[in-house]
């Protein structure tokens, strides 16, 4: 049995269930990261000496990662557009590219983390590093989550696409909303942790 408004929007709200659901979920994510940003503020305001980001971190890698993530948002939109134009092969290409860029981001993150550990910079070293590892770690988990969903859509999406391409495109759009959100979180993380 199917519930209504999965594929076609409800006329008076103009929304499908999934799209409304993902926006609500993003609202809760804003509160989650909002609380962590508030934590950052409170720790920094209360600190007697707060290190500049560059004391511990290297903005070079982070700048590269910013570029990688923004590019992946572009390929994400391309994937959605290809699905909406009913070109599954091109959709798959752009979606896999999005996943690959996400992977790229994680590799760079890994290089960064290893460099910290080599210098004996651990979460326990300083409260700045504590919030750095927590924020970027949680963000990294979100990237992994988004990659998993995108990879699933690219690799196993054909069946649903053949059955109902509109339903499938809705799913790509929802996954894309999440991906852009994860991207946006990074846009805030980058200046706060590395530059200020």
């Amino acid at each position: 049995m199917l519930v209504p408004h999965i594929v076609k929007p409800r006329p008076d709200t103009g929304l499908t269930n999934g799209k409304f659901g993902i926006w609500l979920f993003l609202a809760s994510e804003v509160m989650l990261f909002g609380a962590l940003f508030a934590t950052y503020l409170m720790l920094r305001v209360g600190a007697t000496d707060w290190p500049l980001g560059t004391t511990y971190l290297d903005p070079k890698w982070a700048t590269l990662n910013t570029a990688v993530l923004i590019t992946s948002s572009v390929t994400m939109v391309m994937a959605w557009a290809m699905s909406a134009k009913r070109d599954f092969a091109k959709f798959r290409f752009f979606m896999l590219l999005t996943v690959a860029l996400g992977f790229c981001f994680m590799i760079i993150k890994y290089i960064e983390y290893s460099a910290k550990f080599d210098h004996h910079y651990y979460p326990s070293t300083h409260v700045f590093l504590a919030i750095y590892f927590t924020l970027t770690g949680l963000h990294g988990l979100h990237v992994l989550g988004g990659m998993a969903v995108n990879a699933y859509l690219a690799l196993f999406g054909k069946k649903l696409y053949d059955k109902d391409p509109e339903w499938f495109t809705n799913r790509v759009e929802n996954s894309g909303l999440f991906w852009h959100f994860v991207d946006l979180v990074w846009i805030f993380l980058f200046p706060i942790l590395y530059l200020l």
Binding site: M1, H5, N17, F20, F25, A27, S28, A35, G46, T134
Partner: protein
């Protein structure tokens, strides 16, 4: 749509890993009731220690081992463990799963004429996430050092250095938060997207409105606690110092941590959730009481729209009152003024709703059945709970009353004879819809009257003790403190009332199970009610309605002048 294709489901898919909102609702109800009972048992043990400090617990005293109760005499650490887990279990595993997960899941889709929740699989996931959280919490009792013992508020830095039960507490909470999050997304989408044809938002019942507002609170208030939980896990497992200040000295030794953190940060993050959480506990109860009062006074609810606007306003305001739990932390008078102002403002919509419910009784020919008795008792009990809260909301009297039994009395009046009575009312009211059979009225009254008596016997003396300055955290109930001398003997009366309260639940337990078999056949609409859920068969089949319901009118068209019967169902044409 509803009875399109019927495939036979296996036992596991039908009753255990079901995606049907009714089965999930009942799973939530049973889990919630079981944890309420378990949390109540923890409290009964504590009450022994308070009434007879230093005496061996009779009969079962030997079961707790030498680490907790050598010779059956409870150690203070064990008392703390019971206290922390009583609070956590009652709030997060008892009342919320029952009020939101249970009633919300079972009643809300039926009441808006939907075939199911918007995301049935997510719904199942949200129940099982709660279940895992419950198992983690429960099994933490068996860890070395026992379960969490830093209070249900888990204040840092005490909780940071507590035994490993605290880690289990945090992991359990993360599961419970995930469960609430998935549930709240589902409720909001269902309410907005799946309302039956003709059911505009202002034809929706008070109960659905209450659940709708509650879901927003869960959605937006829980993530900060999740963040706080992650930070405390980091503090405990990765030796960070989010909640550890510089130069913390524990047992005469300076702690080997980087420091630089803030214990106050935990309190802010915790209460940012936990104040809206109070409204999560109350709003569904108000919704249930509203339904039952309209039905049993045979009158429209007084001030239907006013109640709805008050609910929305309450929900909004509940996000900006949290620091009234923190007047004692040395906040400046400017901040205290802000928070006591918002706290006084938030009391206004609560009073409006209570007044509207009270006025709804005026001039009605009231049916005093069991659901109605519980709903009626809710009004003065919640009233006492609310009014005793006013002095706590103002910073000057709060300095005297903070952390005394007065606080315990206050919020228990809100949640126990308040919310839990409303939940009992809801169970008696919707039981026929869920099972097709009525619960026994005789046993119901045998449940109600002693419960009302004993529950006041437990909580009213707390207010008196608190006004005399007895702290809530004394493991011996104040026996060794001079100032508690005059009000100390009240402890015996409270404890005996608590155990009496336990006995008073026996008729309910018998009723709950016996009525499944022997209850009177209910039919579709045993209470002659107007709302949409009563248009479905009892119990409703998979897909809920035989034909898609269409709504033609508002929710409480009782005793309409000129009509030959005293109720007009929402689904009746014309």
């Amino acid at each position: 749509m509803s009875d399109g294709h019927h495939e036979e489901l296996s036992f596991w898919r039908k009753y255990v890993f079901s995606t049907d909102h009714k089965v999930i609702g009942i799973q939530y109800c049973v889990t919630g009731l079981a944890f309420l009972f378990f949390g109540f048992c923890l409290m009964m043990l504590m009450r022994w220690q308070l009434a007879y400090p230093g005496k061996a617990i009779p009969i079962i005293g030997g079961l707790f081992g030498d680490a907790r109760a050598p010779g059956g005499i409870m150690l203070p650490d064990f008392y703390n463990e019971l206290g922390a887990m009583h609070g956590t279990i009652m709030v997060f595993l008892g009342v919320v799963p029952l009020a939101v997960g249970g009633f919300g899941n079972f009643v809300l889709p039926l009441q808006i004429g939907a075939p199911d929740m918007a995301f049935p699989k997510l719904n199942m996931l949200s129940y099982w996430s709660l279940f895992v959280g419950g198992v983690v919490m429960f099994s933490s009792f068996f860890l070395e050092g026992g379960a969490a013992q830093s209070g249900w508020t888990s204040y840092a830095p005490l909780s940071n250095i507590a035994p490993s039960g605290q880690t289990a507490w945090l992991i359990g909470m993360i599961f419970l938060i995930t469960s609430s999050l998935l549930g709240s997304v589902n409720f909001i989408v269902t309410t907005v997207q799946l309302r039956a044809k003709g059911l505009s938002m202002f034809r929706m019942s008070i109960f659905c409105w209450a659940q709708f507002v509650t879901s927003f609170l869960l959605l937006l208030a829980f993530p900060p606690l999740e963040a706080a939980g992650v930070l405390q896990l980091m503090d405990r497992l990765a030796d960070t110092s989010f909640f550890m200040p510089d130069g913390l000295v524990i047992s005469g030794e300076v702690l080997d941590r980087s420091g630089g953190g803030s214990p106050l940060l935990w309190q802010h993050l915790f209460w940012f959730l936990a104040h809206p959480e109070v409204y999560v506990l109350i709003l569904p109860a108000l919704g249930i009481v509203g339904e039952i009062i309209a039905n049993n006074t045979r009158k429209p609810l007084w001030g239907y729209r006013t109640i709805i606007y008050s609910l929305i306003f309450l929900g909004f305001m509940s996000f900006i009152v949290w620091a009234h739990h923190m007047y004692m932390t040395g906040m400046g008078s400017v901040l205290a003024t802000f928070f006591q102002t918002t706290t006084m403002i938030i009391s206004i919509p609560s009073v409006i709703i209570l007044t509207a419910l009270l006025l709804s009784l005026w001039g009605g020919s009231i049916r005093f059945n069991t659901p109605m008795l519980f709903a009626l008792a809710f009004l003065p009990m919640f009233g006492i709970g609310g009014l005793t809260g006013l002095p706590l909301g103002l910073s000057a009297p709060d300095i005297a009353l903070h952390d005394t039994y007065y606080v315990i009395g206050h919020f228990h009046y809100v949640v126990a004879p308040g919310t839990i009575f409303a939940l009992f009312a809801g169970i008696y009211y919707w039981y026929p819809k869920a099972t097709g059979r009525m619960m026994s009225e005789t046993l119901g009254k045998l449940h109600f009257w002693p419960s009302l008596l004993f529950i006041n016997g437990v909580f009213f003396p707390m207010l008196i003790q608190g006004l005399n300055g007895v702290s809530r955290r004394l493991a011996d109930g104040g026996a060794t403190y001079d100032f508690a001398g005059a009000v100390g003997p009240l402890n015996k009366m409270m404890s005996w009332s608590a155990w009496g309260l336990a006995l008073a639940q026996i008729p309910f337990i018998i009723n709950f199970f016996l009525s499944l078999k022997t209850g009177k056949e209910a039919g579709d609409n045993p209470w002659n009610a107007t709302t949409v859920e009563w248009a479905s068969p009892s119990p409703p089949p998979h897909g809920n309605f035989a034909t898609e319901p269409v709504v033609y009118r508002g929710p409480y068209e009782y005793s309409v002048p000129g009509s030959d019967i005293d109720f007009i169902p929402q689904t009746k044409e014309g």
